[in-house]
């Protein structure tokens, strides 16, 4: 190999390395978010409750916000807008799902936690957000979230906000309205 070929080979290897690194950044980012709580992301799988002594000296307000994104005729409401909890204790809250549309649909609730410092200390045993939900037309459903705030939650955090945004599940077979903008555009 000539020196030029050697240099080019090394440069191309570095280039391929950067391409692989870029692809790896996507899963790395998710891991990083879950380790640091960046962007208020929480684990998307059930976590076991840590058995630890309940810190009864301290109350934290946990607030629930629910929203529905476009394209899903569903309503999601927490039965309690907020609860006062002791760190260490596990709690169960119920959420009411309603499909007021006239066909069965699948939807998915995307969680987000604020402040992001709290997301590391929020453990969820049960959550409807772990998987897609399917509701028949007109169906009404109550689903629980069982969660625990760990006792090492920073002292400065007094309120934890847990937001769920409902989106139509991907590859939804009944996404009939997708045709809508195209038709409108032709008109």
């Amino acid at each position: 190999m000539t020196p030029v070929q050697r240099t080019v080979t090394k440069t191309v290897i570095a280039l391929i390395g950067m391409v692989c690194f870029t692809i790896a950044l996507v899963p790395l980012y998710d891991v990083f978010c879950q380790i640091t709580g960046l962007n208020g992301k929480v684990a998307s799988q059930a976590q076991p409750i840590i058995s630890e002594e309940v810190d009864t000296s301290r109350y934290v307000t946990v607030q629930f916000i629910t929203r529905t994104g476009s394209g899903l005729p569903w309503r999601l409401e927490p039965l309690d807008r907020q609860v006062r909890v002791h760190p260490g204790q596990s709690y169960k809250v119920l959420f009411a799902f309603t499909n007021y549309g006239d066909e069965a649909r699948r939807g998915r609730a995307v969680p987000s936690v604020s402040p992001s410092e709290a997301s590391l200390h929020l453990r969820k045993v049960t959550c409807f957000c772990f998987q897609e939900q399917r509701l028949e037309a007109g169906e009404h459903l109550r689903l629980p979230v069982v969660f625990q705030l760990t006792t090492d939650l920073p002292e400065s955090v007094h309120t934890v906000t847990l937001a769920y945004t409902l989106y139509p599940a991907a590859n939804n077979p009944t996404l009939g309205e997708r045709a809508m903008p195209a038709q409108g555009g032709d008109a």
């Binding site: 962007n39 208020g40 307000t61 607030q63 916000i65 929203r67 529905t68 994104g69 476009s70 394209g71 899903l72 005729p73 309503r75 807008r81 907020q82 309603t98 499909n99 007021y100 549309g101 995307v110 987000s112 936690v113 604020s114 402040p115 410092e117 007109g138 009404h140 920073p154 400065s156 955090v157 007094h158 309120t159 906000t161 937001a163 945004t165 989106y167 139509p168 996404l175 309205e177 997708r178 809508m180 903008p181 038709q183 409108g184 555009g185 032709d186 008109a187």
Partner: protein
């Protein structure tokens, strides 16, 4: 000749700037919160440090340029390094940076304070309006730009608060810690009020928080700070800060209004009532995308006028307005508009601009669709 031109430009510049000195500020507002004041003093501190460094550095430069001109007979020296000097001008900036970082860190920590708040407001960015929800109070409303389009198009003189006025401002109490939770229904927006030094991005599907404690009653204006599409420049933020008593009265009145709106759902509405209400709703909510005459802006925003596919399918029309269309700019209005407004706007769209379907949609019908069982 050259001097004349330079002079002319300078005169234009100075004249322009002087007029401005009378009209408004040149600098960051000091604001009406503790945080905004610390941000302001931080800004001024760094600014003056930069000015001093600039004077020293540019002073040395212009001295050299003036003193060592060849036209004045300067002979070049030949030194090209000096370790002591180089170490010196690497360490001095480091020390200056540390001096800047200390107050900056303190202010930043204050901004991230998470102590208990007195009022929580959920701010949702929409293309192109803000929605404010007072958490736990059951009060929620849109805040739309209220500058008439005639002023924007230059057909009418512009008001003092051109582009910075809304139909319903966010009302907040003074001397209370208010927590803002921001999120978005579509693209990324950014909620910004300079007087509070609060700017927080509103992310679809995610939630962010910020806080403020306003110290003086008044009206504070800001704008969306993140490019969010066509009307990014037309979604101002207006905050009306008032004393706690006034705020309580205002909140009670809002609740009253919501209750009476709920009552009016059940009665039978006449076509012309619905059309009048629908036109109002259409022009504040829908016209930004679908345009004043329903002509739309294809391919992104479909036309409504003469949209035969839509006119033939009432069910779909209602469904789209209630639930939006995923992956497009069409939001779901079931949670943000009341049944009266939804019924009115659908009736209006089906009977305006030559869409003469004659359909009348009753608020009670919309209400029935939204209630389960």
């Amino acid at each position: 000749m050259r001097k004349v031109l330079v002079l002319a430009v300078m005169v234009v510049a100075i004249a322009g700037l002087q007029r401005n000195a009378l009209a408004s500020d040149w600098n960051m507002p000091v604001g009406v919160t503790e945080i905004s004041r610390s941000v302001y003093s931080l800004h001024m501190l760094i600014f003056w440090i930069c000015v001093v460094i600039g004077v020293v550095v540019f002073g040395a430069m212009f001295y050299s340029l003036f003193r060592y001109r060849r036209s004045k007979g300067a002979k070049a020296a030949h030194f090209h390094e000096h370790t002591t000097v180089e170490v010196f001008w690497t360490t001095i900036p480091l020390l200056i940076l540390v001096a800047m970082a200390v107050p900056a860190t303190a202010t930043l920590k204050e901004m991230y304070d998470t102590s208990e708040s007195d009022l929580d407001v959920l701010i949702t960015g929409h293309q192109w309006r803000w929605q404010y929800e007072y958490l736990g109070e059951g009060v929620s409303f849109f805040s739309n730009l209220s500058t008439p389009s005639a002023q924007i198009e230059g057909e009418a003189p512009k008001d003092e608060h051109y582009l910075l006025e809304v139909d319903q401002p966010l009302v907040l109490p003074v001397d209370r810690k208010v927590r803002f939770l921001t999120t978005s229904a579509d693209v990324i927006h950014s909620w910004w009020v300079p007087a509070f030094a609060v700017k927080k991005d509103a992310m679809p599907g995610f939630i962010n928080e910020a806080w403020t404690r306003i110290e003086e009653p008044g009206i504070y204006r800001g704008q969306c700070a993140e490019l969010c599409g066509r009307n990014h420049g037309f979604m101002p933020v207006v905050v009306h800060a008032m004393e706690q008593d006034d705020f309580d009265a205002w909140l009670a009145e809002r609740k009253q209004q919501a209750a009476s709106a709920a009552n009016s759902v059940d009665r039978e509405w006449k076509m012309d009532e619905l059309m009048a209400q629908g036109e109002k709703v259409y022009s504040t909510i829908c016209a930004a995308c679908h345009q004043a005459e329903g002509q739309g802006l294809p391919p992104t925003f479909p036309a409504l006028a003469g949209n035969q596919a839509l006119m033939d399918d009432l069910e779909k029309h209602i469904g789209v307005v209630l639930n939006g269309v995923s992956e497009t700019a069409m939001p779901a209005f079931s949670g943000t508009l009341n049944p009266v407004d939804i019924a009115a706007v659908i009736t209006y769209e089906r009977n305006a601009w030559g869409n003469e379907t004659g359909d009348v949609i009753q608020p009670s019908d919309i209400q029935a669709r939204l209630s389960s069982e």
